[in-house]
């Protein structure tokens, strides 16, 4: 046989799914056979932007030709519309559409919270787009994922009603910002939500709905609720959060991000107490994964009571801006360590270095662990880490300014890390902001005295981490050099991502990384 052209047509999409857009565009120009095979892949994701979108300021933005798009509807799996575009882009039916995204980056929120009179004006202004959006929904009932964000042309009742009654198998709904301006639309919105299995409702503004408390959401297993950072009119009130949560009997994972529930709000303690009571009564028998953000800050006692009351095994716990003090740790140790597989404590929770080590030396089944920092001097070699199954660790190792034997302490850190042979991801980067009132232990000055990452400091001991695929140390004030890179290529055969500062690297090291296909970045994305 000759070569690639002899591969049957059905195999070429398998290759195509591994190619980026540039590569596919190049393939289209190779020859006619290639074009036939790879053009459909290019049309899998289509993004339509309008003239006023901010992205247009980038040079060379090219518009999609709607008549070309009409010949390609069978190929489209993912359709994204930014801003308001011509009606024709909404009059399309994509038989294989899985994901639909409607966003409006130009929304000025304050204009929508104006009095009713202005509301009518805006409604008229956006009426065409609202109708168009509803038509698009009607024409694409096989969609599984719907993402709407900041829509100035806020959906009307018919939009949500159409989803509720005609969509075949909806799964994921991500809604940010305004979703319904009238009571009728709000009712239809909640009814539509009952069809989905995953709901992410972020900074929702919605008219009050009398039927919310009468509905059940039987399919919802995954719920993500986030309040806006500033209170607005018609925001989804925290009391309604609880009503919604209680109506999800199959709930497995809950993310609750509620700035507005700070202790200064009078309803906060009552609400958290009600939440805790529902937990106590085992209202959610399948719930095993919790993520709280800005919910228990300075309310550590409440968090303790909640964890004490939690009746079932807890598999995953993530805390951002919530108090994690010694009492919280005690409760977890007492009841939840057996089942805990994922524990992530982000900045501003006030977790101490000793508490972090306590977790590593007593939580047996943990697989993914993130904390802010460990003072190398706190490590006790006689207390080994028991988490044999640890595959992902994110923590910054630092020295106190007073530490005089840093070299010895570094070796101790490496000796302990070397034993975690199941690690696929090791992130020694610095993600906390240094000294804050919520992280009283962590001083910015200490953050500059991080673990030395050079071979001569002990990095070589980590040759035992043969499964490592990700190694990062962003913002750690450390650098690695030529020797370290070559050592990594030699010892970490599965390494595919490296993040952090390099220094004095020669071509040979760069070539080695390229040949292996290692993705390198200076800084991590906001993890």
């Amino acid at each position: 046989m000759a070569g690639i052209l002899d591969l049957p047509e059905e195999i070429r999409p398998f290759i195509g799914k591994f190619l980026d857009t540039k590569a596919i565009q190049a393939c289209l120009l190779v020859n006619r056979s290639f074009r036939r095979s790879f053009e459909p892949i290019l049309w899998q994701k289509v993004v339509i932007r309008s003239l006023k979108s901010n992205a247009i300021s980038e040079k060379n933005h090219v518009f999609v030709d709607v008549s070309a798009l009409r010949t390609r509807t069978l190929d489209v799996h993912n359709y994204v519309i930014h801003d308001s575009v011509a009606s024709e882009f909404y009059q399309l039916s994509f038989p294989h559409l899985r994901r639909l995204q409607l966003t409006d980056e130009g929304l000025n929120l304050s204009s929508r919270t104006a009095k009713n009179k202005d509301n009518d004006f805006l409604t008229r202004k956006y009426q065409r787009q609202v109708t168009d959006q509803t038509q698009l929904i009607r024409l694409n009932p096989t969609t599984r994922t719907l993402i709407i964000a900041s829509l100035a042309a806020t959906p009307d009742a018919e939009f949500w009603e159409t989803i509720y009654s005609t969509w075949v198998n909806p799964q994921i709904l991500h809604a940010t910002g305004p979703v319904a301006w009238t009571e009728e639309a709000a009712n239809a919105f909640w009814k539509a939500c009952t069809r989905f299995s995953e709901l992410s409702l972020l900074s929702l503004t919605i008219e009050s709905s009398p039927i919310l408390s009468t509905l059940t959401f039987p399919r919802v297993r995954h719920l993500n609720l986030q309040t806006p950072s500033i209170v607005q009119s018609r925001w989804l009130k925290p009391q309604d959060h609880l009503v919604l949560m209680k109506a999800c009997p199959q709930l497995k994972h809950l993310t609750w991000d509620a700035t507005a529930l700070s202790p200064s709000q009078t309803f906060a303690p009552a609400l958290l107490s009600e939440f805790r009571q529902a937990i106590e009564q085992n209202h959610w028998p399948y719930l095993d994964s919790l993520e709280f953000c800005r919910l228990y800050n300075k309310l550590g006692k409440e968090l303790v009571l909640l964890l004490q009351a939690f009746p079932n095994p807890l598999t995953a716990l993530r805390l951002k801006n919530c108090t994690f003090n010694s009492r919280v740790l005690t409760v977890l140790k007492d009841k939840k360590f057996e089942s805990l597989k994922i524990l992530k404590i982000y900045a501003n929770c006030g977790i101490t270095s000793k508490a972090t080590l306590d977790i590593l030396t007593s939580c047996p089944n943990i697989e993914v662990f993130r904390s802010t920092h460990i003072y190398a001097g706190d490590i006790d070699p006689s207390k080994p880490w028991v988490c044999k199954r640890l595959r992902s660790l994110t923590v910054c190792f630092i020295h106190r300014e007073t530490a005089s034997n840093r070299a010895v302490l570094d070796l101790q850190v490496y000796a302990q890390l070397a034993k975690m042979t199941d690690l696929t991801r090791l992130d020694l980067g610095q993600y906390s902001m240094g000294y804050t009132t919520s992280d009283p232990e962590f001083h910015l000055m200490d953050a500059m005295n991080t673990l030395d990452l050079r071979l001569k400091a002990g990095l070589g001991q980590l040759s035992t981490l043969t499964k490592l695929r990700f190694f990062g140390y962003a913002n750690s004030f450390q650098v690695t050099g030529q020797a370290e890179i070559l050592w990594m290529m030699e010892n970490w055969k599965e390494l595919r991502t490296l993040i952090g500062q390099l220094d004095g690297i020669e071509r040979s090291a760069l070539r080695a990384m390229e040949a292996r296909g290692v993705e390198y970045r200076l800084c991590g994305r906001n993890i």
Binding site: M1, L5, I11, F18, Q25, A26, V30
Partner: protein, 159 residues
């Protein structure tokens, strides 16, 4: 328990049942045939290719069976090929495509993925002319066609 696989050029290969069953096609055949000892003919696979396929299945005999993915993850990475697989795939192009065809016919998804990723890595970063050179392909477009294709598909953003 062993099974006998017969290549298209009539060579016999004795293989552990567990290894052979990495191929879903063979697995289904064995289930249909039951406890029979008869060799399994594979008319679409030559001995040279079958040798390589068996080598792959032997090495991966203890891998967990992959669950078919329903979600369409557009950011499929092709740079996550294991070290052993990378060395395994260092063959000439003809063998590479033969392995892909065999993996498709025998329904060995992980091997098909690795083969396709390898081809994808050859394509990535190349201009159309470089791709043609890499695979010995002749350009059959007219200049007008080329201009039209460029224009019609310029809009595509990162997937």
């Amino acid at each position: 328990m062993t099974v006998i696989l017969v290549s298209s050029d009539n060579q016999d290969f004795k293989v552990d049942k567990e290894v052979a069953e990495r191929s879903i096609l063979i697995k289904n055949m064995l289930e249909d045939v039951g406890e029979s000892d008869s060799p399994i003919p594979l008319p679409n696979v030559t001995a040279a290719v079958l040798t390589k396929v068996i080598e792959y299945c032997e090495h991966h005999r203890n891998d967990p069976i992959q669950v078919p993915e329903e979600t369409d993850d557009p950011r499929k990475r092709s740079n996550d090929i294991e070290e052993w697989d990378m060395k395994f795939m260092q063959v000439d192009q003809e063998m590479l495509f033969e392995i892909i065809l065999a993996a498709n016919y025998l329904d060995i998804k992980p091997l098909l993925d690795v083969g396709c990723k390898t081809v994808a890595n050859i394509i990535k970063g190349k201009t159309p002319e470089e791709i043609r050179k890499a695979f010995n392909i002749v350009n059959d477009f007219t200049p007008e066609e080329e201009a039209q294709i460029k224009k019609e598909n310029e809009w595509a953003e990162d997937r």
